[in-house]
């Protein structure tokens, strides 16, 4: 069994540190926002996980393309890893968004375009898992999975741009989310620093987790092969 690479151990340690540092920065460095108080702190996590999650979905699509071109099953492992981790990140984004929404909009959820497209994006990748579950042949499973991540990836930009798309027609909704998305609430430099730090930290955490998950997939494959040899 391949030993854990040094770099990975390093990354794991770094991720842990970064995570703690990010929390520290969020809670102690970033200034308190005037109206929202402490709840606003969830914003940094919300935005980082949402971003990283979306990038992860795009990465999965890229891995899907790589699989379709090379037909190498290792890309399939990368793809599943990316989807699974992004799914968790994105769920965190939705949940933190909800937590923030409660005090700021007075409700956990509202049928705003951004929220709905985000939820639907999450569903796409749940459907992806269901699809894989229904197919037994690993090679075909990989092919179908790659095709579906590709099509699903098309929804990522829509989700991201949903605020803008809406702006033109429905100003009623925009008052809430997108005015801020465009920098509507004045962010102090300290807030900006915090945001970028959190973003960077979560990106590193994402990469670390992805690496771990890929290794897990590889190990599972090896176990499968060992079992095969044992059966024969």
């Amino acid at each position: 069994m391949e030993p854990r690479p040094k770099l990975l151990s390093l990354l794991t340690a770094l991720s842990t540190l970064l995570f703690l540092a990010a929390l520290a920065v969020i809670f102690f460095y970033a200034p308190l926002e005037a109206t929202m108080n402490y709840v606003q702190k969830v914003f940094y996590i919300h935005i980082s996980t949402a971003w990283v999650g979306m990038l992860g979905f795009l990465a999965a699509a890229a891995a899907g393309i790589a699989f379709l071109i090379t037909k190498n099953l290792k890309w399939d492992i990368v793809e599943v890893a990316a989807v699974e981790i992004s799914l968790v990140f994105f769920l965190v984004a939705i949940v933190t968004g909800s937590i923030w929404a409660k005090p700021s909009w007075g409700t956990w959820w509202t049928w705003d375009a951004r929220l709905t497209t985000a939820a639907i994006l999450e569903m796409i990748y749940l459907a992806y898992l269901l699809l894989r579950q229904g197919i037994e042949d690993p090679e075909r499973r990989a092919r179908f999975g790659a095709v579906y991540t590709l099509i699903g990836g098309l929804s990522v930009p829509v989700t991201f741009l949903s605020i803008r798309l809406w702006q033109t027609i429905h100003p009623a909704i925009i008052g809430t989310a997108s005015a801020q998305a465009q920098g509507g609430f004045a962010m102090s430099p300290a807030m900006l620093h915090t945001m970028f730090f959190a973003l960077g930290a979560f990106s590193v955490i994402f990469i670390t987790l992805l690496w771990h998950r890929i290794r897990l997939g590889r190990l599972a494959e090896i176990v499968e092969q060992r079992k095969l040899q044992a059966v024969e």
């Binding site: 037994e136 499968e224 095969l228 059966v231 024969e232």
Partner: protein, 231 residues
Amino acid sequence: MIRVRKLVKRFGLKTVLRGLDFDVQAGEFVAILGPNGAGKTTFLRILASLTRPSLGEVVLAGCRLPAQAAAVRARLGVVTHQPLLYGDLTAEENLRFYARLYNLPRPADRIEEVLDLVGLASRRRDLVRTFSRGMQQRLAIGRAILHDPDILLLDEPHTGLDQEACDMLDRLLDQVAARGRTVVMTSHDLARVEDLASRFDILTGGLLRASAHRQELRGNLLDFYRETLAK
């Protein structure tokens, strides 16, 4: 015509074909025999490029499968465990559809000819859905030979056929072989294939265990089969 090297097929953890070597010359008529679950259907589906091999090399008429499968498809005729027919179309319409896909030059004549051959001329306008098992099998055979393929892959083609249709199929296969086409067929009916094929390969446990030409056997196919399995 057909060259298979070290063919392995796995379904999950189960290895069904474990490193099979197989060669067929142009014009040969090979019968693949073996017990239930030996992997005959799996093997034939791989040759037809309907299933992917897990490992190994499969070359049909100079084209590697599955990559170059497109190049041989026009020269391939296949009968599987299922009839590959549309239940909501009539016998004639089914053949007409396939004739178009295979781009036959004079489809109407050929369809006529094939329907006569398989004895369904009088039922041509009936929906395939209402056909009995044997009638569906007849039409499946008609579909497979419609474009007069160079290579015929037949998975238990006698299934469900009555006496007359079996005789028809045997005559047809004799003719096909006489015209130099290559045939690979599976069957459980040793008595019937004995006079049909020129070579008999026995597949069991995912490997081809034995192979014999008709001349060598001199009518002792059943003994040959039993001995091979007993080993």
